[in-house]
């Protein structure tokens, strides 16, 4: 998927907006369609395979950047809460509870309704999805790490707090955060797909996995390949990221002794 996303323009047989109106709604070539379109064409005669590859690219960008934003923002707040404790901690955790109690989709609808839609804003918005989990997790693991001997010893050695957090505590808690990252990534992909499906995400002629699903809605009954292609890709991507997360967790845990 990553390779597909990175080299989309080289791999895709056609441009994502290229139309061939003469060959509209052609079934996949293995199901008796035109030989040039491996996964068939859509209602505007665009090559499904090419659009799919571009869609993966967009969805990946949104999901990876968005998750990274959420992880960095949330973890930073979690570190701050664990460092200052007291009022700062209560404020951050209060914010976390508010965010956790609010259905994110409603929040996203509100933001898009107010600020309109463009790709950068959309990425930031998706980034806020799940930050509260990172904040909560980071706070917990850092509070725990601070009671460990090495953190206490680093303080006693006279190291400044920033160094203690970045050099001593961060590498020790990173595994937990990385695992959370791989849990969040598939959800972010699904969120992007969901928002795009509602028409609030990526706007045509750009495409994304969710948008492709949405576009295919009127044609489900007759032209099965239109929803099937992006659906299968969403399924496979989220599954593989989850499996990657599992493997990563096993690897990181056993590396310690």
């Amino acid at each position: 998927m990553v390779v597909l996303a990175a080299f989309a323009p080289l791999i895709a047989p056609y441009g994502y907006a290229e139309q061939d109106l003469m060959a509209r709604l052609s079934p996949p070539s293995f199901a008796g369609g035109e030989p040039g379109h491996l996964l068939g064409t859509d209602h505007l005669g665009r090559d499904v395979l090419s659009r799919l590859i571009y869609a993966i690219r967009i969805s990946m960008i949104v999901a990876v950047l968005g998750t990274a934003i959420g992880a960095i923002f949330g973890s930073a707040l979690g570190f701050l809460a664990a460092h200052f404790r007291g009022v700062v901690e209560e404020a951050v955790m209060g914010l976390v509870d508010v965010q956790a109690a609010m259905p994110f989709l409603i929040f996203a609808l509100l933001v898009i309704a107010f600020f309109g839609n463009d790709l950068a804003l959309f990425v930031v918005l998706v980034g806020f999805y799940g930050w509260e989990r990172f904040a909560r997790l980071a706070r917990a693991v850092v509070v725990d790490a601070k009671t460990r001997g090495y953190a206490e010893a680093a303080r006693a050695a006279g190291l400044p707090p920033r160094r203690i957090y970045l050099v001593h505590i961060l590498p020790n808690v990173a595994s937990a955060i990385v695992v959370q990252l791989t849990l969040n990534l598939p959800e972010t992909i699904l969120l992007e797909a969901g928002l795009s499906f509602l028409g609030l995400g990526i706007q045509p002629p750009l495409t994304s996995l969710g948008l492709m699903l949405n576009d295919s809605r009127p044609y489900i009954a007759l032209y099965w390949w239109l929803p099937a292609a992006p659906g299968v890709v969403i399924f496979l991507t989220t599954l593989s990221v989850s499996l990657l997360g599992d493997a990563l967790r096993d690897r990181l845990d056993s590396s310690l002794r």
Binding site: R148, G149, Y150, E152, A153, G158, L159, V167, P171, N172
Partner: protein
């Protein structure tokens, strides 16, 4: 030059350290012994400034130690180092031991570049008898003795003036203990270090110390020259502590082991805090806490019975096993 440290106080209602007044002179090694929970580690932490005393103060070279954290605290770490009890816990599992040592040199401004810091670290590791190649290892890849050495190197790379060693040998095998003790002796002789060694093992303390302080339930009950305290303890608790050591001496006087358990710092008996277990306990000990009073030979002992002995016969103090 003389330096004074004063610690007085305890933490919360648990009187881990309860009114200790002692000074450590520049260049000397003071050993602190006592059973688990007597407050010797707390004393060490307060002495080195890691924890503020609840009451009283610690003066270092005439000036009070800075309070917790902050830039002044970090600057004071350049001169005062505390070496933790369990090397495996005190070292970061994700950093190589060399990185630990180099980091110290760098943070305390002793190395202008990373290369220089690495060179200093290699020198410090060599100083404690660790091969340069071991610097690239992670703590869990080292043996107990190597870890203890690495921890020492981490503190000694910045050439501190005053070091508190908390149980430097308790995590080690007997044979490795001897090596580490010998190493500490060599290091402090070469660097004119002022050292406080905390241990429950009297033999460790005796080999390395100029003076020994015996603690019981948060107070110092006896303090004096190492040989005096070790060979002719005066306080009944010190007598029992030393008699409990295995000695290959059939003529050594037999001292019955102590009865009962030590009370906890949260429930200190009134009067002399040792009286429930003391073989010489008498009326005054139940009512009054004995002060740390000097004996003619220079040491100080907190015991009514010993004070009475001294009043009767100024020298030698009557105590079991008096054969210095």
């Amino acid at each position: 030059m003389s330096r004074h440290y004063r610690a007085r106080g305890g933490r919360g209602t648990v009187h881990a350290v309860d009114g200790v007044d002692l000074s450590v002179v520049h260049g000397e090694t003071l050993g602190v012994v006592g059973e688990s929970g007597c407050g010797k580690s707390t004393l060490g932490r307060v002495l080195s400034g890691l924890e503020p005393p609840t009451a009283g103060q610690i003066r270092y070279g005439g000036a009070p130690l800075p309070g917790k954290d902050g830039a002044a605290f970090r600057a004071s770490r350049r001169r005062i180092q505390y070496v933790f009890q369990h090397p495996l816990l005190a070292l970061n599992p994700r950093l190589t031991v060399g990185a630990h040592v180099a980091e110290m040199a760098r943070v305390h401004g002793l190395a202008a570049s990373a290369t220089e810091a690495r060179r200093k670290a290699a020198a410090a590791l060599a100083d404690v008898g660790l091969d340069a190649a071991l610097g690239a290892r992670y703590p869990h890849q080292l043996s107990g003795g190597q870890r203890q050495r690495a921890l020492l190197a981490r503190s000694l790379v910045i050439d501190p003036e005053f070091v508190v060693l908390d149980e430097p040998t308790s995590a080690l095998d007997l044979s490795v203990q001897a090596q580490v003790i010998e190493l500490i002796g060599r290091l402090k002789a070469r660097r004119a270090l002022t050292v406080v060694i905390i241990s429950h093992d009297l033999r460790v303390v005796r080999v390395l110390s100029d003076r020994i302080a015996v603690m019981y339930l948060g107070v110092v009950v006896e303090i004096g020259a190492a040989d005096q305290v070790y060979h002719a303890p005066a306080h009944p608790y010190a007598v029992a502590l030393i008699a409990a050591l295995l000695r290959l001496d059939p003529d050594a006087p037999r001292v019955p082991p102590l009865e009962g358990e030590p009370a906890s710092g949260g429930d200190i008996p009134p009067g002399c805090r040792f009286h429930p277990r003391c073989p010489r306990a008498a009326a005054p000990g139940r009512a009054l806490e004995p002060p740390l009073a000097p004996l003619p030979d220079g040491r100080q002992v907190a015991c009514h019975a010993v004070a009475a002995d001294t009043a009767r016969a100024p020298w030698p103090p009557l105590s079991a096993g008096a054969a210095a």
